[in-house]
Symmetry: C2
Subunit: 201 residues, 2 copies
Amino acid sequence: MIATVMDTTTMSGRDVRMASRTGEFAQPTSGAAPDIVQTNVAILPRDLAFDFLVFCQRNPKPCPVIEVLEAGQTEAVLSARDSDIRSDVPMYRVYRYGELVEEPNDISEIWRADLVTFLLGCSFTFEHALIRNGVHLPYYGTDKNVAMYKTSIETAPAGPFGGPMVVTHRWVPREKVVRAVQATSRFPAVHGAPVHIGDPI
Amino acid sequence: MIATVMDTTTMSGRDVRMASRTGEFAQPTSGAAPDIVQTNVAILPRDLAFDFLVFCQRNPKPCPVIEVLEAGQTEAVLSARDSDIRSDVPMYRVYRYGELVEEPNDISEIWRADLVTFLLGCSFTFEHALIRNGVHLPYYGTDKNVAMYKTSIETAPAGPFGGPMVVTHRWVPREKVVRAVQATSRFPAVHGAPVHIGDPI
């Protein structure tokens, strides 16, 4: 099936997951399922899972943990009943030894019993609040993605995990900055308040 | 050295750790080092560490993680510089296969390279705020401990970890209840606001 650009702003979280499962939906999820918490997904072998969870604990701003699935578990029991992590993400990036090798929309065939899934809060969650406060986000509800940058801010390392913090970037008119800070600060579990405001140099 | 009852309310966190290290101090830490975050300490073999950290993540109210030390690491680098987790706790309980086998005040001799230390926020941290707000805590700054109970509230299990939530219990006069809730709610990382107020039946 060829994925088409969909208006997901009227869909529920379950709708988006089901459309991702069938392959009908394969675009970034900005704008999708307003008022539902969105998460980033990281899936790692169990051998690395403890160090990664410690990394998240030490870096709650970039890596706020919403749910950790047990090794081999495919349903996010606490956050998304009847979900299947092998198919319900619009698209996956598969890394082997640090190299991107594949971008499938289903990972059932490479799933393993020792894989541990981490759901980390995603800033798309608070974009609806920005929109309602009059901040324009040109990619919202389209097949485009938000701008992302590597910063010069180092994360606190844990085991093999570390490196610079990555941030999303939104243009906010000067007169909307205070309101944007107010609105996003209410969402600490999904990247909440800005890391930086103004000229990033 | 025989430990004596000490007034720790004028000591710093470092003072308390050093007195614990020498064996001079071996009592509960209620009242100690006001305005410093106190933590509970859990030390587990690395094999169990991931499941325990997931358990904490699923139960942030009873198990708020302040710091996780890497396997074998004995200094709490982020929270307590120059500390040594093998000696700086006033007293330890050593469990083998679920059974309490020893209560030493130093665990250097049984320390292992695969042991992972978890520092979990402790409600003793907010007792100074209660005292300043006129709530009397009879054990505060003495060699007695706060009352603790197993509740009928189940925790969210993770791997082999689970069971009923344990709470501390403080008597607060009716006219101080609102103030006590206000004062403790500011400390979500150390058991913060009450789990229950009133008759526990």
